[in-house]
Symmetry: C2
Subunit: 462 residues, 2 copies
């Protein structure tokens, strides 16, 4: 249901190095038209990449010079946190102009990432009604229908006719994109959606027909419905959008299929980052100290866990002194077990996101993983055992290292599969905490197994 | 543009444990209707989860008993590899019936994951034209417009009128879902798309008007256009679908916004799995030995890399024997550096997927990461140095460990940021190879730094 008159072939971008040079030339000359002609044919991701190469001051000037519409497209292409950072630096008037061009859900995302002071200033500069929409959307919990919906709905009253709809579709063609393919919803006097009109209905009915004669009952979702359930709904039905209602049934917005798809992708990407210890939406154009501080926060917690694990080694210094070759294999056993455990973590995280496993299934997952752990533990233990035997010429050393890795693989794999479920159950973020927790456990168990087995076999090792 | 007469409120599912028990009851009684009534109100992800708890034989009987339409919805909800596994086990006739219900892009995905023999048997059982579509779609490279498109297009000829379109929209309501909100495309005699008709055009024109009078020039993409560029196009334009053409400009299908969004999500999830060493779309209902073998393939390569890294320790056995406390800190330095490096890998992987960085930007990324490495290296080195000093009561031990971790953090972070770019450049998968490569380098560097510094300071350490 969108206007297609701007359709064209995919434009050819300029050769790469030229863009950056020319951007700076046009900026130096305050040539707004030149900037537009340069950036407009680029894919948004390319244009954004080029802009991020500029200094912050250059970026500010660029976003101020180009038309607010193009600036808004670039802002929308950026992850919310980066988008907020780009807009916050601008003059208030320019910032408001750009924010005005965004859909209400993006407005809420971007303004939600700003300092309270900046956010308030921008909201005060916006149209009062739009600002109220943003405040309303920003109040909903992340990744719920309320937070993902747009406030703009294509609505009609019980007394409207087919002709009213057709006239609005023809006249509001600019606003139409904002509705993202919504069907017309019919609201009663209490603002509750009581019907939805299909395209077929519109095309076959007479213009004088009332919408109430051809509408069907709409599916609705409540504003607190979480992302996973929204995905289930859009998987099961071919709708492009579903109206969102508050507890009393009043319409508050419309959540679109594409907003749900995008939120699922963002969640997956942010989860992948958190699993590697990166909090927030870090991109390299962000200030150095912010990036550094965020990464350190996670690393510092990790250092404490590492010290705890290492204390196990400390308890066996005598054994180590007697069989120094053990020190070669300690990091190997701990690293290999960590890898095996992380594979199990990854599979559980994916099954969680597909809805194929729930926290209550922990025991079932544990049993499934133990089997994999036993097989892989045997194979890896045998491999490393033979390596140790041949390398150091002592079959008992091979036995100690091999046995330790075998047992520790079983521990790592079975714990790795279950850890994300237990963390989710106690309300912790499995993406952040699974890795460090697993690694600490498998490090401790690995060090203990190698060193206690070595103590046991001591006379045979020296 | 979809039929909405089945709209309804989100149904309430049954209490959890009941579903599994009842599924088995109905299966035992061959009660197809009972199965349908039980599964139909569930979200597809829940229904799939319940089915995966059954034994393979029970699953086969269930998928055979329920209507092919519901079975197809469940198959579509499953990742392609699992979907192929579920369908392959069925009687040929049932398998064909279920595959027939799927859209052509999903057919190609699922059949593409099957053994060649099973795939051929199913294709032979299908309608010849549909089978040809599947073969055609399956021939395109993964994550290109050709592989993501559906073969079904809503097309008209140059002589068709507005009335022709309206009549087909009204009569083909069942097929209509398959078009996923496509606009009508006008083809010339050579099967090239020469126009697209907007909804506004349809609603305002007379029925007798020729489509050629109201159509606008369509944007088209070639079948080999990769996913990232498709995302750029759908980011920049509000279209729900774009026609896909072959080199001569003939229409071969239509790629929809939702297919592109889903492919992007699947790619992100599969990348996240590969980064943790899980190849393929593992879910726990897959055969044990398949899961075990796939995980082992990655782990075995890793064990070799670990041995290479450990050989550095082996070269310094004398130093270790003299200062046994060093052995406590070796795994700590290697683990912490690995974590720091993986953070940088994760940020680069994300910037790659957002299109904010390209392989040629390696130097720029390296410079950005060195700064983070220096700050975090100083902080972490200081922390671990103080810990080592206090723990072992030797300030020089603290100095050795602290210096080693500082330098190794700088190495890990700067290499971590660049490794995915270099791997991409030489055509390797950065998700699979970045972690092991980085860990091996940082392990070797870490061991070397700790042990060579310890050798240097030896007189002060004992």
């Amino acid at each position: 249901m969108t206007d297609m008159e701007e359709q064209q072939d995919v434009p050819e971008p300029l050769p790469e190095p030229l863009v950056e040079v020319r951007l700076r030339e046009y900026l130096a000359a305050n040539d707004a038209e030149g900037l537009f002609d340069l950036l407009d044919p680029l894919a948004l991701s390319e244009a954004l990449r080029e802009i991020l190469q500029l200094t912050p001051d250059e970026r500010d000037r660029l976003l101020t010079l180009i038309p607010a519409e193009l600036a808004a497209e670039l802002i929308e292409e950026a992850p919310s946190e980066l988008a907020a950072e780009l807009v916050e630096r601008l003059e208030l008037e320019t910032a408001v102009e750009i924010i005005d061009e965004l859909d209400s859900d993006v407005q809420a995302d971007v303004i939600g990432e700003m300092d309270e002071e900046d956010a308030e200033a921008i909201l005060a500069g916006m149209d009062a009604e739009d600002a109220a929409d943003v405040r309303r959307l920003a109040a909903y919990a992340e990744d719920t229908a309320g937070a993902l919906m747009i406030a703009e709905a294509f609505t009609f009253s019980e007394t409207d006719t087919v002709g009213n709809v057709l006239r609005r579709m023809v006249s509001e063609d600019d606003d139409f994109e904002r509705y993202r393919g919504q069907h017309p919803y019919v609201l009663n006097a209490a603002n509750q959606p009581i019907g939805v009109v299909s395209l077929r209905g519109l095309l076959t009915a007479k213009r004088s027909h009332k919408l109430t004669e051809i509408m069907v009952e709409p599916m609705t979702v409540t504003a607190d419905l979480p992302l996973d359930q929204l995905r289930d709904i859009f998987d099961a039905y071919p709708f492009l959008g579903v109206p969102v209602v508050e507890s009393e049934g009043q319409l508050v917005g419309v959540v679109s299929r594409s907003a749900v798809d995008e939120a699922a992708l963002e969640r997956a990407e942010s989860e992948s980052l958190r699993m590697q210890g990166v909090m927030g939406e870090e991109v390299r154009s962000m200030p150095l100290f912010l990036r550094s501080r965020r990464r350190l926060a996670w690393l510092s917690a990790n250092i404490v866990l590492n010290v705890i694990a290492a204390s196990v080694i400390s308890a066996y210094e005598e054994t180590l002194a007697a069989v120094i070759a053990i020190a070669i294999f300690l990091p190997m056993v701990s690293d290999m077990s960590g890898c095996s455990g992380n594979q199990a973590v990854a599979v559980t995280m994916r099954e969680l996101s597909l809805g194929l496993v729930r926290p209550v299934d922990a025991l079932r997952v544990w049993l499934k993983e133990v089997s994999v752990g036993v097989i892989n533990g045997l194979v890896l233990g045998l491999l490393i055992g033979v390596v140790a035997w041949i390398w150091k010429g002592n079959v008992f050393l091979g036995l100690v290292i091999g046995l330790a890795l075998s047992f520790n693989t079983i521990i790592a794999v079975s714990i790795g599969g279950v850890v994300p479920l237990l963390l989710r159950r106690i309300g912790q973020d499995p993406a952040v905490a699974s890795g460090p927790l697993l690694t600490t456990i498998t490090d401790m168990a690995g060090f203990f197994l190698v060193l206690s087995l070595a103590t046991l076999f001591m006379p045979l090792l020296v």
